[in-house]
Symmetry: C2
Subunit: 328 residues, 2 copies
């Protein structure tokens, strides 16, 4: 062991594969219409952790795949993710993503919608080039579930009556479905039995939910700034996440009136954010979110317990540990 | 012959198949998220001519297909079309489509973007259920081309320097690519040789271009109102279509200044529309558009000359004749 933590072991082990994925992404986002690679390049470069394609790469290798089919499919997964980010930012009217101007703020909503459609089509072209109907089924199913989750989120937005079940439904669909599909695809390309596909799907789902739960906690946590996030975005937009659901359920009438004013009516005043933090701490809402994340992470760990030990499995388990540990 | 004209013979011959397609569409647009079937139902019901799925149905039957694979694939084609309409209306900020409120004007841009994504995913799920990688390739390629065409149209919008080649590129991509793919799929499900696939693709492309060219002419024609269209929408939005390209190219400096003011700067005044019509007539721009459409229709007719004669082929040829004849 090198003592590396977080996503570092995964990135190091998959560095060569990931470089090929990045090359495929750049190659397949080309078009005779110059705005397409320009806009797509902006969001792909802003790119973040590449966690979803890394899952496909790592699970394929862990399952013994020695070819290169996982490269194109990992790029396909990233294209689906990128398309949803472009459409998300239009839907949320976001101006910033990871500290950079969003594509919609630079090129307009229209171009973001259409380039998202283009990348989504490219994702399917990459799957077709690979030729596995199983992979096409897994990723088209995931895409439909993601879109359903996004519509569902639109309907629960600013609704303080959202309960924990509703919230978990939304993040399972909009975030975890692609993690689950990305991980499962690794077993498909390695031609492993269906039970291993399902085990990796469960691993991906648990990891995805844990990541999203902790992201939502970090939005109310001083730790967030260390990770380069802006604290309070969800609060300002009136997003209903688990910490709020928890505190609202346990709050008295006066507290509920406060949440309704801030998150439903979006009538926010000086000191409201500080008061929200105080309420969340009073009801242990952040700890509750982390505890929930840890339970999904445990389920994910359990899901891959049957795979032989080795450096890639260790790296996946470390990524899993990091998904909740980064909350502290 | 019954003396039926237009799309009637095609609709009559394919009535049973089309009913199954409509049932499939209704069934596959369901979701646990009630807004999805609500919004999708609105645009599917507003539905129009179902020309694209009819192409898949008719070409499959003409090629001798006796099974029911063409049903799900025709529904898939219509889902792709519907998804692009939803996104188009967001991009164009349209309030009306075929005289009805658009989905975006009723439920907002956000829901239209996301339900479009959902229908697009459903289209791929239907193709996966059919199981033909050839069909998946044809329709994912078409989807990418459509998105490219839409972005391209965004860039040429309000640009009076657009030439005929640019305009034809846009409509070939954004309209004719799906007609071409829809027709080609018929040969694939009937397992006909590649040459027949290509012939039907060429037929669909020619038909699609002819339809779009005549649609663009009708936007400046008194005939349009008989067909339930609103005259002058393209002019008001500053869309650059073939009639304008033609008149601009042949106009003097004063006329060009007029087109620039109206279509680039969107500075439109009382009497401008009438003056535009006068300029289009002076330069024979509408006739030029129709002549161009007729040349594409001839190419489409030529493309299927090798198929055995029969009622379905006759109906396709009548649809083709109608694509340009409705201009008069």
């Amino acid at each position: 062991m090198t003592g590396e933590t977080g996503l570092t072991p995964l990135h190091r082990l998959m560095a060569d594969d990931l470089e090929q994925v990045n090359a495929t992404i750049v190659q397949r986002m080309q078009s005779d219409v110059p705005l397409i690679p320009q806009l797509a390049g902006h969001i792909v470069a802003a790119g973040g952790k590449r966690l979803r394609p890394l899952l496909t790469l790592a699970t394929a290798r862990m399952c013994g795949h020695t070819g290169s089919r996982h490269i194109g499919l990992a790029a396909s997964v990233e294209f689906i993710h990128t398309a949803t980010l472009l459409h998300d930012d239009v839907v949320d009217e976001s101006q910033l993503r990871r500290g950079l101007d969003t594509a919609n703020s630079l090129w307009g909503n229209q171009a973001s919608v259409l380039v998202g459609d283009f990348l989504f089509s490219r994702a399917f072209q990459l799957m077709v080039a690979d030729g596995s109907l199983d992979v096409l089924r897994i990723l088209s199913d995931a895409s439909a579930v993601i879109a359903e989750g996004e519509v569902n989120q639109l309907l629960t937005a600013n609704d303080t009556e959202t309960d924990e079940g509703d919230y978990l439904d939304v993040i399972t669909a909009k975030t975890a479905a692609l993690f689950a599909a990305a991980a499962r695809v690794g077993a498909v390309v390695a031609e492993r039995p269906r039970a291993e596909e399902k085990a990796l799907e469960r691993f991906g789902r648990g990891l995805g939910i844990a990541f999203q739960l902790v992201d939502d906690v970090l939005d109310y946590s001083a730790e967030a700034e260390k990770l380069g996030k802006r604290v309070g975005d969800d609060f300002r937009e009136g997003k209903i996440t688990l910490p709020v659901v928890h505190a609202f359920a346990r709050g008295d009438e006066r507290e509920r009136a406060f949440w309704r004013r801030c998150l439903e009516e979006l009538d926010q005043r000086e000191g409201d954010m500080a008061h929200a933090m105080e309420l969340l701490h009073r009801h242990g809402a952040l700890d509750a979110g982390i505890a929930r994340a840890e339970s999904y992470a445990r389920d994910a760990r359990e899901a891959i317990s049957g795979f032989a030990d080795g450096p890639i499995k260790d790296a996946l388990l470390e990524a899993l540990r990091f998904s909740t540990a980064r909350a502290y």
